[in-house]
Symmetry: C2
Subunit: 536 residues, 2 copies
Amino acid sequence: MATDPVYLSNRGNSIRQNQGILQESYAQYAMDKHHGTENPDGIINMATSENKLCYDLLHKRLTKPDMLYISPSLLQYSDWRAHTFLREEVAKFLTHYCRSPKPLKADNVVVMNGCSSLFSCIAAVICDPKDVILIPTPFYGIITEDLHLYSDVKLFHVPLDCEADGKDGRPFHLTVGKLEEGLKRAKQQGLTIRAVILMNPHNPLAEIYTPEEMIAFLEFAKRNELHSIVDEVYMLTVFDEHVVFHSVLSVDSLPDAQRTHVMWGMSKDFAMAGTRLGTLYTENNDLLEAMAQLGSFHGISGTTQHQVAQLLKDREWISEDFLPENRCKLKAAHSYLTGELQSIGVPYLDRPASLYVWADFRESTFEEELSLWRRFLRHKVVLSCGQAFFCSTPGWFRIVFSDQHLHLQLGQSVVSVLYDLLKTNEESDKSVEEDSAESDNAAVVNSTSSPHSKSSDQQKEKDSPVPDTGSLATKEFVLQDCQASKPTDSLDSLIGTLRHQIHASDWLEKNTPELSAGEDPEILDVFKALLQSARK
Amino acid sequence: MATDPVYLSNRGNSIRQNQGILQESYAQYAMDKHHGTENPDGIINMATSENKLCYDLLHKRLTKPDMLYISPSLLQYSDWRAHTFLREEVAKFLTHYCRSPKPLKADNVVVMNGCSSLFSCIAAVICDPKDVILIPTPFYGIITEDLHLYSDVKLFHVPLDCEADGKDGRPFHLTVGKLEEGLKRAKQQGLTIRAVILMNPHNPLAEIYTPEEMIAFLEFAKRNELHSIVDEVYMLTVFDEHVVFHSVLSVDSLPDAQRTHVMWGMSKDFAMAGTRLGTLYTENNDLLEAMAQLGSFHGISGTTQHQVAQLLKDREWISEDFLPENRCKLKAAHSYLTGELQSIGVPYLDRPASLYVWADFRESTFEEELSLWRRFLRHKVVLSCGQAFFCSTPGWFRIVFSDQHLHLQLGQSVVSVLYDLLKTNEESDKSVEEDSAESDNAAVVNSTSSPHSKSSDQQKEKDSPVPDTGSLATKEFVLQDCQASKPTDSLDSLIGTLRHQIHASDWLEKNTPELSAGEDPEILDVFKALLQSARK
């Protein structure tokens, strides 16, 4: 049915039309999820930050008999901050894993159905409509909607530069100076600034800030009477045993405890985004009371509260089973992805945390970045591009690596092939055009590839209106039917196809090979090697 | 810690301070819940509309093995309108139990964590801030917060009169004429009116509207281009088998399907308020799309979605076990409560639906009503008073009867004793003062008691500032220690105490007897009989 804006209010129409790149990515993926046998030509999702490596562990724990429990109070209305038993377990859990010097209190905990809800609530109670909150960019873009949709609060961006600044600097280096500068600009614009959002480990940079850095940021907030909203949802997702993450809850005496609010949740560290559970720890009673009033909009099923409490109190399972195995799997997946990026010469930030890598496919404009994002999507791989995170330099992408190895291989192979092709075209262009590709002085790790301009053909594609990726994909995407034949047959067939078609201008665009999950994963590697050599 | 308003915004402070009578009732109760052995002098809750009669049935079903199920997708992000499997089960369930002439569609279903969330979302997308929605009074007061806290939408009240109007009229009779009149008044005030809320069965009236009435209301909405938000959360809570409830989803052709949105949920009909699950059915795609955008704030755990889907698809359990037994228990509890009300001469609306009775303890002012409410609370029984539902006549109370028999007996006995005492005092006052107690021509069912004025003593109590009920209760409330002695001993002791003290002016105020759940429930009845005769 055609849209008739008369049904909704102005606000409603604006909410309805709110569709960013991240939402679109997920929507495309949701309609056409890759599945080894049921939908082998579906989309590989390297955009959504989810950990899909620990399902076996979780399944085992979550189907134990203690999870199937019902009591009258679980079926009845309860405290909107969550049942006491759950808040107590959260307090104990945070005390232990955040290494708090004193026991954290259940009364300082609010549990809601996810961190989006917590962001929305906090914004509603510390800000009036149109107030702003400072945030360094790039950042996990969904926070924009979390603060705006209900609570009408805007973010004020503090851009971090991808170039390292000075001898101690890092790419995207967050400093107090930059925060001060951002605050000054916001004030000059007459805005009311109420808070700063600090993410540690960072999303999408995967940066881990030291206690000294975090305290400096909190001191900045204190000096300026800003609340600090500290998002630590990746605190246990650190996969290098030599790196220690320091929660602000481990700090003996916070600069401004009444204005420091710490978020955590089950989505990332426990790979349970579908459980919808986020926690807030704060000593500010006013905030706690106000949040409780909004709790009726963000309640969690009593049975889910029970299950999460059981999980959080099972310290043995967490520390001896889940975390070590999770770290090991994350490390392997991270190694694989970064190895692949290195092999195609894509720079990235090498960080031992989170579920993603922040990689530099440097482009000249955000239009080009979006075009590359669309090209990946047309070839059935969805990534998150930098502009969805308000990155100030075009061409950065967040690539999620915490997926089954075959998905990761398939996705990464498409990325590699497309990127290789891009580079090849570009190099041949360069010899003809000799145009102004400047040298890349970004202090990124592991590579020194240079930015590239695009051929006029590619440019044309990029300038065309947003394609209907759903139908386009169906038209352009011809699946290599590897299932119908034995692996060796399909390899022969692939080689033949490759030999004949590889030099046709847009063959790779039109025929991204895909191997089903049911097949021998090695085929993919072989295929890739063949692809490389065939192109020479 | 003392409140420092500097931490929160103006909006935040106003949210924090939002504390109505219903919220206060629940907060008091939550701090001091009655329990037979662990807290025998705790508060009996006859205020919160929860069904506590079916726990055994639910426990049995909810601990069956099919409830303990985990799949990868349940642990991952999903469609914010809910998983398809759940929306499909909701559509099938509503098709069957609402007797829809054609199968309802999963795509027209949104599932969120409770009906408060649905109200908040609908308000956000069909209204701009400060717009209003029409609602007949009395109504379930929490809707005020549901629409206002996040979405800044106000209700415009259409008062219904407790007196029957004309020969076909009923008390609190909702008519199209009254809606038209309300709309006219709202327009005269320059307000933008976007919708009307219709509850069927009604809360707190328990009124069941006929299909003809509902269609007339929907026609009114259509004529005036208003959305109709139809709340049917009590649709299966009809306990007279001769009465058939008609959902608007059973209507062949709705007057304005694009503006008709039907709410239902698990809280009332399945006695699972703690599960936090509400459903919306609408054919309006704009609304569905806009609601989906807000869904990230109102998500439900994947495992809970699975459990509810299992329950809803178990048609045999619902229709052959749960509903018949639930109806039977509700009918018995309703009979008991209404019998007690009759015996003390309190008029009430006799309706075969819902979990509560709307009863007439007629008072002259809302201050007096509030004072009576406080008096009940001081004696450890919490009810909901009419002003919490914006009733236009003082003295009406909503009494929830769907609790274990002993709780119901204990609560009702306190209500009866206090009310009897009130009447006795009043009658003796009357003979002295002969003041202006007007005759009661309210067309309420089952009684013709007249309104009463209060003695000056009582009036003094009422005019005193709001007491700290918690501490007052502790001071005033002396528990009869029935547990320490055998039933007969405690009866003897009670009789003795009664004989000596019953004529002291405020003895009942100070010494409400209470019997623990561990004792023979008959004691209570005996005690009550004794109390009656002792006072003669």
